[in-house]
């Protein structure tokens, strides 16, 4: 329910403009806009980029401080070569067994849709963000749709 909550009319407008551009070329493929993503039973069933994810690429995005920076908050034994694993969130060892691929996608896209409004985990492909967003980042997501898919592909390998 929450990811679809698109209160600002301006936002709705810009999303439909973006969609019009996308659908102008090819309706099937291409990324889904953040406000257009459907969550059902905590799952996002389909790829948000329209393509499949690359786990090796996702592993890099996960560790990169300017991208996922997931290690800021999560320990992950599979990445023991990296120094400094955070403790703000749970360890992700075994995350790929605890959650389905569709649920992992929802967690990365917008963690609030799986946990609560109060979760401190940022939404990595969501425009439901905090106040006073830095001007150069307004309307932008932390990760691209393809980076989300890459990270999800990597998470599913954490058995």
């Amino acid at each position: 329910m929450m990811p679809n909550r698109c209160s600002a009319a301006g936002l709705a407008l810009s999303v439909s403009v973006a969609l019009a551009v996308v659908s102008g070329s090819a309706m099937s493929d291409g990324p889904v806009a953040p406000n257009d993503i459907k969550v059902e039973n905590l799952e996002i069933a389909n790829s948000v980029s329209g393509a499949s994810g690359d786990a090796a690429e996702g592993r890099k995005v996960f560790a990169n401080r300017k991208q996922g920076n997931c290690l800021a908050c999560h320990a992950n034994s599979e990445m023991s070569e990296q120094l400094f694993h955070g403790e703000v969130g749970p360890t992700l060892d075994g995350a790929g067994s605890r959650w389905t691929e569709g649920q992992l996608r929802t967690i990365v896209v917008n963690a609030k849709a799986v946990f609560t409004e109060n979760t401190v985990m940022p939404g990595f492909y969501s425009l439901d963000v905090g106040a006073d967003v830095r001007e150069s980042l307004i309307g932008k997501t932390i990760l691209t749709a393809q980076q989300v898919e890459d990270v999800v592909a990597y998470l599913t390998t954490l058995k």
Binding site: L42, R65, N69, L71, A72, C73, A75, S77, S80, L83, F84, H85, G86, E87, V88, P90, T91, D93, G94, R98, V114, F115, T116, V120, P122, G123, D128, V129, G130, A131, D132, V133, R134, E135, L137, K140, I142
Partner: protein, 288 residues
């Protein structure tokens, strides 16, 4: 529906945490005392004031490495003391059209300024807002010395503020919320403390209330108290002001940050200082 799910997850998580204790960092504040030069015992842990969300108020000193803690415990080694000494020079420096220095009116800071650093921000009736030590210095410069205001973090502002606060070394922080509209500003500060900002969508509370004692990547999160400010930061090799620290933390959420001494940051300083009620003034604190 979300709630139920969260519970399951929490249960799973705690099971896992038990299983991997080996890889987890040793979290939480260290159980040690801060005694400066083996003489002056600082209050670094104390019961929280009424209405505080946490049970215990803890100084950021407890969350630092043994090396950083040792630097603060020895006033000869504390690199921030150089800033305090520089502040003394500014205290005695004659500036402005009136031919006066701070000392011309206040004489010896070691007696006239005791307790000042432990009680600011204070209500300032002439401007009808709370002011901090930096703004009080500017008031004196303009009204009593005929000198120009210091710009934020420029010239003598940080050293002189550190010098004045250092005269309260060891004294417990205690604000007077009864004066003027202090309570309304406290409320505004509280609202800002819990306001989630930026693309990362985090509030001060996300890090310093919910998660203090835990590591966020290589940083050990403290309660974010200001009793050591201006504080010496090893990373930046210099004194760092309270508003500079606030702006840095807000920027890290990928948000635009308010101007120094704006209503927002003054309200936040008032509220955050209150959250550290009872802690000794540690200025100059030493942090990583």
């Amino acid at each position: 529906m979300h709630r139920v799910f969260e519970k399951t997850n929490v249960a799973l998580t705690s099971l896992l945490l038990v299983a991997i204790v080996g890889t987890a960092n040793a979290g939480g504040p260290v159980d040690e005392k801060l005694i400066i030069d083996g003489e002056l015992e600082m209050i670094t842990r104390t019961a929280a004031p009424e209405g505080h969300p946490l049970d215990e108020v803890i100084s950021g000193w407890h969350y630092r490495t043994p090396e950083t803690r040792a630097l603060e415990a020895d006033s000869f080694q504390n690199p921030g003391m150089l800033g305090v000494e520089l502040g003394e020079e500014y205290w005695n420096k004659v500036e402005g059209t009136e031919g006066k220095s701070c000392a011309s009116c206040h004489n010896d800071a070691a007696s006239s300024m005791v307790g000042v650093g432990a009680s600011y921000p204070k209500w300032h009736a002439p401007t009808s807002r709370p002011i901090n030590v930096e703004l009080q210095i500017n008031q004196c410069r303009v009204n009593n010395m005929g000198a120009e205001e210091y710009a934020f973090d420029k010239s003598g502002q940080k050293p002189l503020t550190a010098y004045i606060k250092h005269q309260s070394y060891g004294k417990p922080v205690k604000l007077d919320l009864e004066e003027g509209d202090m309570k309304a500003w406290w409320e505004k500060g509280k609202e800002l403390y819990y306001k989630r900002t930026g693309q990362l969508n985090l509030s001060c509370a996300s890090c310093h209330e919910k998660n203090n004692g835990k590591y966020i990547r290589a940083d050990h999160l403290s309660q974010g108290n200001v009793n050591g400010f201006p504080t010496y930061r090893l990373k930046q090799a210099g004194l760092i002001s309270t508003h500079n620290r606030f702006r840095g933390c807000i920027r890290d959420t990928r948000a635009e940050f308010p101007k120094a001494f704006s209503d927002e940051l003054m309200a936040l300083e008032l509220y955050v200082t209150w959250r550290g009620t009872g802690l000794s003034v540690e200025t100059p604190g030493v942090r990583q």
